[in-house]
């Protein structure tokens, strides 16, 4: 066969053009500038417009499901000499830069208000707030030196995404923050390149990398050192060792002699040691094992938390802690010669395993699917602290899409995300095994998962029965109430076991260009007896306080109800906590998914997916009250998600659209033993329930409605990416 001339010329020309191009900009002062335009349009019927992200939990930042906005991203690169290259990034941000700001002018100035410093939300501060005045900032600047020395490949100075280490120690920074970390990094290899190394000093992020999500007052000297050695003697074996040492230091307040300089003391320190072993004896079997040991210590001299109540917020356990994390994986590739493969994973992550720089999202450290993003926070509508006014759901009833990513940290980061992104969840304390077979029958691809998860956090009274319940070293964030709570790892009383089973299928229907049919069935069976020893019950049968150790009683959190009379009915305001079954949790969770995708043309792809969640949850009764802080979620949850997705690519531009319709019902079942109250006008206004509708008030006066809730949430995100 001879080629026609056009094809040959075109292909040859494309290929030959390439050969003439340098892989990098030529030596000299050439500055390459490229750019990106990110634009998104958000619409949703929650009618929030606090910012151009669907979700954040950061106070004062704002979140929204409506608005239009644009980011500009300039990417710079130059190579001043053979040995030196410089890359940089200058970018504006979505933040509150709504198109409706009309350029980000005007607005209220919080500095001149009384009181000053009020939050800026939804762009209302215009040019007086950098989140709404369309400012452009330096996002990254990196110098990379390749000196040509035998044992040093490169020295990187400046921004880095830390992607050269691993998610359990120094984790890769999430995409939108990829240039935020600044470091000095040396990389190279010795022993005929059989032994590679990465040696880094990272400046510690003051925004989140320490107790209470900060690094204290004296921050500029805080840093982390990491050394990774990678031994690759042959294709059958590899070994990696990692050492990480983090120090958050403060000026020593006891040093009163200023004339000889100031001493420093640590506010927080964290050492992590890791070993990763890979054995690859053949294509049929692959073995990997990892082990990490962590030490962490907070110094209360500098205001770090010494303990938490039932809702503490901090990315690290208080006090001095050490713990381990282990993982072992076996991959069996078609061992029976019938196309059946197995992935098997064992994992055991200590309750106090701590690496403050571990990956916070956008990685998945475990094989299991874990939870689903549809259920993110305790309330039936994904709210937190929803029993108190002013705490509506943020991400909305629909939550996030898809299964959760698992991260080995309490410092989970789902901030500044939209609904079609993945939710991350903490796996601190998880231990168990996952077996995941995959198989093929003709054109049908099947994959499955079965996971049994036990917890290193199964304990009574935080595992320290000699101390009060409100002096736990464990920050439990939004608590373990509801269907799921993404950054909760601890509970005062826990005796939990989780089983996850998933069966997925994919079939290519031979119609047109091929219709991809996919679906899955997922079941989660979770039981948590929580309090299991009667000595922890708050009261004796005669009503007197029961102490589980001298001076300590669970009545501090489960105190007795007052007697009330409502419409002539007299009884307890909530059920007294008098039985070990009052806080029991039993979840029967089912997800059914069916979808289809079609590549309409090379440039256009579309898909439609329907998911049905059927969750029967018993999560304690009114004696438990979701730790008094959250909407109770005991009852029947019927949630439906219809998702449409389309993508269009043209040259260097890409358009996409995600539409989601969520509807469903929550039918509460909080048990009996209390007197039903009825919503007054204020309650109705604060919680969006009808006046006179039934409910009950909890220990702190929070309102839990007893009516069946009907949900309907629509939302859409359309985006455009253009390179220039």
């Amino acid at each position: 066969m001879r080629f026609n001339r056009g094809f040959a010329i075109a292909l040859l020309a494309v290929a030959s053009v390439l050969t003439a191009l340098p892989v990098f900009a030529a030596d000299g002062q050439t500055l390459l500038i490229t750019g990106e335009d990110y634009t998104k349009w958000l619409w949703g019927n929650q009618r929030t417009d606090g910012s151009l992200y669907n979700f954040t939990s950061i106070p004062g930042e704002g979140y929204g499901d409506n608005g239009q906005g644009t980011e500009i991203n300039f990417l710079l690169a130059s190579k001043p000499s053979k040995y030196v290259e410089v890359t940089g990034r200058i970018q504006s941000r979505f933040s509150q830069n709504q198109w409706t700001n009309f350029g980000g002018f005007g607005g209220r100035n919080p500095a001149f208000e009384d009181p000053p410093g009020g939050p800026c939300v939804g762009g209302d501060c215009g040019e007086f707030d950098p989140r709404s005045n369309e400012y452009i900032k330096q996002r990254g600047l990196t110098v990379r030196i390749t000196p040509g020395y035998r044992f040093v490949d490169s020295a990187t100075i400046g921004s880095t995404d830390l992607g050269m280490f691993d998610a359990w120690t120094i984790g890769k920074v999430r995409y939108i923050d990829r240039d935020n970390a600044k470091a000095v990094l040396l990389q190279g290899a010795v022993a005929g390149r059989k032994l590679g190394y990465d040696l880094i000093r990272v400046s510690l992020p003051r925004l989140w990398a320490g107790p209470s999500f900060n690094t204290g007052d004296y921050t500029a000297a805080d840093g982390a050192y990491g050394l990774q050695l990678r031994l690759n003697p042959n294709q059958y074996f590899d070994l990696v060792g990692i050492v990480e040492r983090v120090t958050d230091q403060e000026v020593d307040v006891t040093d009163r002699d200023f004339d000889d300089g100031r001493d420093v003391d640590f506010r927080f320190k964290n050492n992590v040691y890791g070993v990763k072993l890979g054995v690859h004896p053949s294509g049929m079997i692959d073995l990997r094992g990892t082990a990490y040991f962590s030490e962490a210590e907070s110094n209360p001299t500098f205001g770090t938390p010494t303990g938490f109540g039932t809702s503490g917020f901090s990315p690290v356990v208080a006090g001095k802690q050490d713990d381990e994390a282990y993982k072992a994986n076996i991959d069996l590739n078609d061992p029976f010669g019938v196309g059946l493969n197995f992935n098997i994973e064992y994992f055991d992550i200590g309750a106090a395993y701590t690496s403050i720089l571990a990956a916070r999202r956008e990685v998945d450290v475990l094989l299991t699917e874990g939870s689903d993003g549809a259920f993110a926070w305790p309330g039936p509508d994904n709210s937190a602290f929803g029993v108190f006014p002013g705490n509506p759901t943020r991400i909305g009833y629909g939550g996030w899409q898809g299964p959760a990513q698992q991260v080995a940290t309490l410092n989970v980061d789902n901030e500044f995300t939209d609904f079609e992104e993945s939710m991350a969840e903490s796996v601190i304390g998880w231990k168990g095994i996952t077996i995941a077979p995959t198989w093929t029958i003709g054109d049908l691809d099947l994959s499955a998962e079965y996971s049994m998860i036990d917890y290193n956090t199964n304990w009574q009274a935080w595992g320290q029965a000699d101390r009060p319940l409100d002096q736990s070293p464990y920050p439990n964030h939004e608590s373990d109430a509801g269907v799921n709570s993404y950054r909760n790892a601890y509970a005062p009383f826990q005796d939990k076991e989780t089983k996850i089973a998933v069966l997925r299928g994919k079939y290519l229907l031979d119609v047109g260009k091929g219709v991809e049919i996919f679906g899955k069935i997922k079941m989660i069976d979770e039981q948590d007896d929580r309090m299991t020893d009667a000595r922890f019950l708050p009261y004796n049968a005669d009503g007197s306080v029961r102490f589980y150790s001298p001076g300590n009683s669970s009545s501090s959190i489960y105190f007795a109800p007052p007697t009330i009379t409502v419409n002539g009915v007299t009884g307890f305001q909530w059920k007294p906590f008098d039985s070990l079954s009052d806080d029991d949790r039993d979840m029967d969770y089912k997800l059914y998914q069916l979808g289809a995708g079609y590549q309409v043309t090379d440039n256009v792809y579309g898909s439609i997916t329907y998911e049905k969640y059927d969750v029967d949850l018993q999560d304690g009764n009114t004696a438990f009250q979701a730790y008094q802080l959250h909407n109770m979620a005991s009852g029947q949850h019927d949630k439906n998600k219809l998702m449409l997705h389309a993508r269009y690519v043209i040259g260097g531009a890409e358009f996409g659209a995600n539409y989601e319709y969520n509807w469903g019902e929550f039918d509460p079942d909080f048990g009996g033993g209390f007197v039903t109250q009825f919503a007054d006008a204020d309650t109705a206004k604060n919680f969006g329930v009808p006046v006179g509708s039934p409910g009950f008030r909890g220990r702190f006066g929070g309102w839990n409605s007893l009516i069946t809730r009907d949900f309907k949430q629509q939302r859409m995100k359309v985006f455009m990416k253009v390179r220039f």
Binding site: M1, F3, G6, F7, I9, A10, L11, L12, A13, A15, V17, L21, V23, L32, T34, Y38, E71, N73, L75, T146, D153, M164, D166, Y175, I176, G188, A189, G196, D198, N232, Q235, D238, H280, D286, D331, D334, V338, N343, E362, Q405, D418, E420, S422, P437, W439, T440, D445, L446, K499, A501, L503, K513, G514, D525, T601, D602, V649, G652, E654, R723
Partner: protein, 314 residues
Amino acid sequence: MRKVFPLALVLLVAAIPAFAGKTLFKLTDPRGDDHGDGNLIYPLNEELDPGDLDLLSLTAEADGDGTLFEATFARPVRVPGQEVIDDLGTRLDTVARFGFYTINLDIYIDTDRTPGSGTVSMLPGRLATIDPSSAWEKAIILTPRPHEARGELKRMMELAIKDEMRKDDSSLEEDQAAAMRAQIPTNVDERIFFPSKIRVRGNKISFFVPGSFLNGPAKDTWSYVVAVSGANVLQSFDLARALGRGDKDEALMILPISPGSWTDRFGGGRENAAIQPPLVDVVVPEGRKQETLLTEFNQRRKEPVILFGVVPKG
């Protein structure tokens, strides 16, 4: 679990043999040679490790009138996860929908076995040519984003013709160029196939090539150039990774190679060797060494690496 456990069902069906057609041929490649010219260094990140691109074998089986190819790698194929790939929160698994994202596998087939017949150019970014004795008529490009890759290739070829026209010494006339541009979609579709019926299982990727493309099943008498490279699935949409390094547009979804070590590309490249091919593993005929072939280019004279085909029934 109180419900019927689906794993039992899966294990039960394991007893049923998988569907398998007649083996047409099998090409094998040494284990542990996923190092290009011997000095290639995998990117220093968590997304690629030595062995990931190490091709062990390529099998072809008859499947109806088409061919089911199966590539076996030394390590389990990496499955795209929920990693975010842009400032808009786009997830990797939504763009790399076929279950893999790190591998390109190019197969250039000389079906007529007539020296000089066909073309010797490989796809953009491969930076290698094929010896005229194995000049190809058909190419199969397994890549994580086949539809986008095909569209991108067509666009690049159209641009190439335009560029050719702009040259002072071009012999192309306007009408000729227009005709050539019009022919590109058909020519690409007839000569280059981007599989989209793909299955990833453990360390294997199988992909179907219809008989309409190869005019029947693949033959063991044809000559095959097989090359593995790292896939850059984000090329078209993520300049942040390319960071303006001049490789943003000119290569078809392939990770480049540079001197030193890198997190976003292969390292170990030669200094001042812009035409060094970023090919990681190549199937070579008996008597030739991959490490030698991939070093045989001349930057000054712009003479690229030349690859040779392998005839299964040779």
